[in-house]
Symmetry: C2
């Protein structure tokens, strides 16, 4: 491990994003998602399932107040399980002292405050900040005197806390709280929530760890691992690093904690215990993490874990842990990644399927999983600046992550299929999880706020830095400041990604500055050219390094050619044999019924007319279809004519076809023009 190249995301306050593409997305988050989400957290979205989130914090806050008032006379509630999602008998009259919603509902707030924090760095907003501060007061009032802060157990009975780490998301709540608190602190300098998060983390630290008498468990839904590293980075408190490392090291050790926990719980409840048939692979706890080499189980949990593993590997310079990260990365990228940057082939357990099982119509490809994959990629980049990580991060971001949100920011996909026939989604129970149109909100609202937090912090995926190098992983118009040995260098970037391959960088500094600027050469840019006056780049692992002294006004130009690429999947992918997909730059395309009529499966790409560099494919810039600049492709094709007879089976005859064009749009923009068929992988001759 080469510690020299380790890098960290730049401070968001030192970045501006003026790029039209990303600014549009960030403004959607700021103007649509964050306010909507706040209404949702407060159960005032008409027609939507209540979140109960802020209400639960208030209920817990009242209990804390009562406890303070009564002291020893206070009788805490005794825990009874009321289901994974508790709903009031009469929705109009919830009981005053009850917890409602999913048992991880606190995280609705944590994700929201995190997005708010990022948004404030780019767009200060006193009114929003005041709302946030008031929300923080409500949340902090709910904290147990010992630091514990998960309203599910505070309200339902602390006697059962930490008795079901596998399913009950307490440590997941910790993780999200930390992420939100750090983001809000970094944006505003206000530390009330950060201190609450630290107290919760301190309490967990007092209860979990390798020391005798402490609990040997770890999160059922990972995120605390990476969150604690962030808390360590912002506070410098080693105990958070130790706790994160403990969770990572402990995972999957024998005797298996989740299995034992379940057995003990069964004993207590007088229920007959059976070893879970599926083992602990769903939770990535079937073996110690350093022995894992296949990405398995719930896809979001998996990539959250791997992100935490990468963080711990970097912080502790643990080669064996990094090796595991690399094996898991390679496994995902070479066997379990959709061409849209999505992961999770099966809805059973929202999980990774087996190698090369990437079905298009029944795909799960959860938005959050693609987001988690970007988390993992960014963390691998922080360890090793290798563009292979950035390529996948970019693919996930520009395709599946953005597809998760409608172009008006008002509706969301949880599941991101690669082939949709709306009627099939309605008629076929095997497709119950696939929606042909985006939904307003979800009871289990993980994806919309997750989009909000990644989009509003996109610059922290674009730039990382270490002492002597500023890395640019993604290209977006705006500015970024870098301190080189006490001297400030600002890059002004003009770019119109993902449609244009020219990037113009102008450097600003008061006095000459010495330092290295590293620019990623994407895998899609063949024959990239970098011009920088007299300086010649050094190329390594897909990055162009420009070092030396910089002067005000220095210019760097990148030409990253964007050819349309016609892709084939490895023949081991049964679902995609005899099919092709299209990309231009980082954007994967798809065919929609709106442009091609129904029965998309009758169209096939005529590969005879298409060259290696996309020759034969017409493409155009298009500002009208979606109200912002995009690119459309027009691909030579044939359309299979309907059969003359109505027979189901006939003697095979060479198919009768007519010439046609396949009109393709960016995948992220699908399902914004009413309901219709969609197809990413297209039949080909």
């Amino acid at each position: 491990m080469n510690k020299q190249v380790f890098s960290s995301p730049v401070d968001l306050k030192k970045v501006t994003v003026t790029d039209p593409f990303w600014q549009r997305e960030m403004e959607l988050v700021r103007k649509e998602v964050i306010p909507y989400q706040w209404d949702a957290l407060n159960d005032r979205v008409p027609g939507a399932e209540p979140s109960w989130c802020m209400r639960n914090f208030r209920v817990a806050g009242r209990m804390m107040a009562e406890q303070r008032q009564k002291g020893a006379a206070y009788v805490p509630p005794t825990y009874t399980y009321r289901g994974f999602q508790a709903l009031p008998e009469d929705p109009a009259h919830p009981e005053e002292d009850k917890f409602y919603g999913f048992l991880f509902q606190d995280t609705d707030f944590s994700k929201w405050i995190e997005a708010v924090g990022y948004s404030l760095t780019q767009h200060p907003d006193a009114a929003l900040e005041q709302i946030a501060d008031e929300a923080i007061d409500v949340v902090c009032a709910a904290q147990n005197p010992d630091g514990y802060l998960d309203t599910y157990y505070i309200i339902n009975g602390m006697d059962a806390a930490f008795t079901n780490l596998r399913d009950h998301h307490e440590l997941y709540c910790l993780g999200h709280l930390v992420e939100g608190a750090v983001a809000y602190y970094q944006a505003t300098g206000k530390d009330k929530l950060l201190r609450a998060a630290c107290r919760f983390a301190d309490y967990i630290d007092s209860r979990f760890g390798p020391e005798e008498g402490k609990c040997k468990g770890y999160p059922g839904h990972e995120i605390a691992e990476m969150a604690l590293i962030r808390l360590y980075e912002v506070t410098g408190e080693e105990k958070y690093l130790r706790l994160s490392k403990f969770f990572v090291d402990q995972r999957g050790q024998e005797p298996n904690y989740f299995t034992e926990e379940d057995r003990i719980r069964a004993e207590k409840e007088g229920r007959k215990w059976q070893r879970p048939a599926t083992g602990s692979a769903y939770h990535q706890a079937d073996k110690p993490v350093r022995e894992q080499d296949e990405a398995v189980g719930h896809a979001v949990r998996a990539v959250y874990l791997y992100s935490g593993m990468a963080d711990v590997a970097r912080m502790t310079q643990d080669d064996s842990l990094l090796a595991a990260c690399d094996r898991l990365w390679d496994n995902i990228v070479s066997k379990k990644l959709y061409v849209t940057g999505g992961i999770g082939g099966t809805h059973h357990g929202e999980a990774f399927s087996y190698a090369y099982d990437l079905p298009n119509d029944t795909a799960y490809s959860e938005t959050c999983a693609a987001i988690g994959l970007a988390f993992f990629a960014r963390r691998m980049l922080q360890i090793k600046p290798d563009s292979k990580y950035a390529d996948v991060m970019e693919l996930a971001l520009y395709n599946t992550v953005l597809a998760g949100m409608a172009l008006d920011g008002k509706s969301f996909f949880y599941v991101n299929p690669l082939a949709v026939v709306p009627d099939a989604c309605r008629r076929d129970q095997r497709l119950w999880h696939v929606k042909p149109t985006r939904q307003k909100w979800f009871g289990c609202a993980c994806c919309p706020p997750n989009i909000a937090r990644i989009v509003s912090s996109i610059a922290s995926y674009a730039y990382t830095e270490n002492e002597d190098t500023l890395f640019t992983h993604l290209y977006m118009g705006g500015t970024v400041e870098k301190d080189f040995g006490g001297k400030k260098l600002t890059m002004e970037i003009k770019a119109r990604m993902p449609w244009h391959g020219h990037v113009y960088v102008t450097l600003r500094c008061d006095a000459p500055v010495n330092g290295t600027l590293a620019f990623r050469i994407p895998n899609w840019a063949q024959d990239a050219v970098i011009t920088c006056g007299e300086k010649h780049p050094l190329y390594q692992d897909g990055y162009a390094y420009l070092a030396g002294e910089w002067h005000d006004g220095d210019m760097i130009t990148l030409h990253l050619p964007m050819q349309v690429r016609m892709l084939a999947a490895n023949p081991a992918v049964r679902a995609d044999v005899d099919k092709v997909a299209f990309r231009r730059g980082p954007v994967t395309f798809c065919a929609e019924q709106a442009d091609n009529g129904a029965d998309l499966h009758l169209l096939r790409v005529d590969t005879r007319y298409i060259g290696d560099r996309g020759e034969g494919i017409e493409w155009e810039f298009d500002e009208t279809t979606f109200g912002h600049e995009t690119v459309k492709l027009h691909v030579p094709a044939k359309r299979l004519l309907p059969q003359e007879s109505s027979d189901l089976y006939t003697l095979w005859q060479p198919p009768k076809e007519e010439p046609a064009k396949l009109h393709l749009i960016p995948y992220y923009a699908w399902a914004n023009r009413g309901e219709g068929e969609m197809l990413v992988w297209l039949r080909r001759k």
Copy 2:
């Protein structure tokens, strides 16, 4: 409707089947399935889930004896629901007075006795007949004095009888009991079971019907409809016809019986009632049968209903009912039929999927549904001798029905997929219902006994007759007697279907006989030639009619050419676009890993070398592979070579292939040589 052409199956005692193909299957049933099944009924198959069937009859019988003994002092049990399948807490010590197993477990006996009956007509067996007689004694002893005979309610409490017609299979038990009783009576002349069945039917008749005060319900799982027609035919009792017609007419009328029943039950149980989201389509009760035009819901139930509808239509010469049957038939055959003669595209509800949704790997295609399709086809043939019905009947029988049983008669498929990758079946929960190898027996043991009863009565699908015509629908070696106006004519048939297209018929009679012999011309036999001395056939609806005076020794020869046919599916079938399947005669073929290696999806048929009449496809008779005569096909093909890079996605290049042969075996014989991949629809150029 032309009553003149109505026909009935021939008496099985007037038929012999010496054909090697079908005799082998019948002997498997006689020697393997029937004895095994008897052991299963008596819970003495090591390692198999107990059936509890005969035990339940014994428990009920003891209760009946107690009732007789105590008279008015007898206190019957009060009903409590114990689940769809009731299992003892301790399997080694079932409680003496409890009902166990699925609530339709009585039918295990009924299906067995039916197969026994058929088998005895072909192969008298005094020992088997004695076992059967003793079993009948046990069953009859369980009958309630009023005639009711379903041990589930007799044991659990008669107070709840007829309160859940939708789910609790009482009328299904009646139907199977009647089918079994009639078969055993026709085979042996013994009427004890038939009288019990009549008493049960009489009791049902006293409780159900259009008259005021009678129940307006109908079977949740159909079969009673066709069974009662059989009972009417054997007893001449009009009430059974009326009852069957009532069930058919009443089905799906408003107010919907099942919905009302469920509402009333919910009220009684104090449970909150919700209208079932899926309606009554699963039970084919969403609308009156005469308004139905799409085959929907549970596939077995559907075709059992349609069989009963056809019977009632024939018996009452009801044109509107026949029109519904024809619409439903056309809907199945033109939109919902697998190329293997299977039906039921989805495992959700073991049901028909929507039009043209015929997935290969997740197919349900239950063995029993294909059997039910043959029932329906035979009944349509009885109304209208049109070979289109016989073509589908034959397709179902030779392919999916036979695929349901291993070649050694010892294991069975419930589900019959058209594409199997064994590893996927194990790793993919979406394929939980698909087994790559046949299973010994099932707790819900419908398919094995259903195969037993159809195989052992195969001659009743081969021949039907009316006063002046003997119809031959299927060709099999053996003899069949026909009485023409008091004079006996015997056909001696030499045939080696499904491999050889020559059929030789020699007529035997003591004196000249006048009558019509009708022979089916299968849709697969192009340029069929029939030779019959001076007689010239008249062709109508796919049958060749030979009429006139017959003399001893007259010969009829049919030449039914069997070309290998390469089939394409209607392009509306998304799963089969760009694919072909192969048939020769009525047999559909498939590729197995045993002959082609793994990764069958890498092979594609090279259609350039294949002519309309199968030119270019090599084929051979083969007696060694499966221990009986079959045919193997060798199809020109190409094999896609593995990709050089291990990348998941690469720039598309014309695929690198090597010449290959695809070796195909009959679909019914798959999965008899260990576990491996299988594929019916093959990629093609």
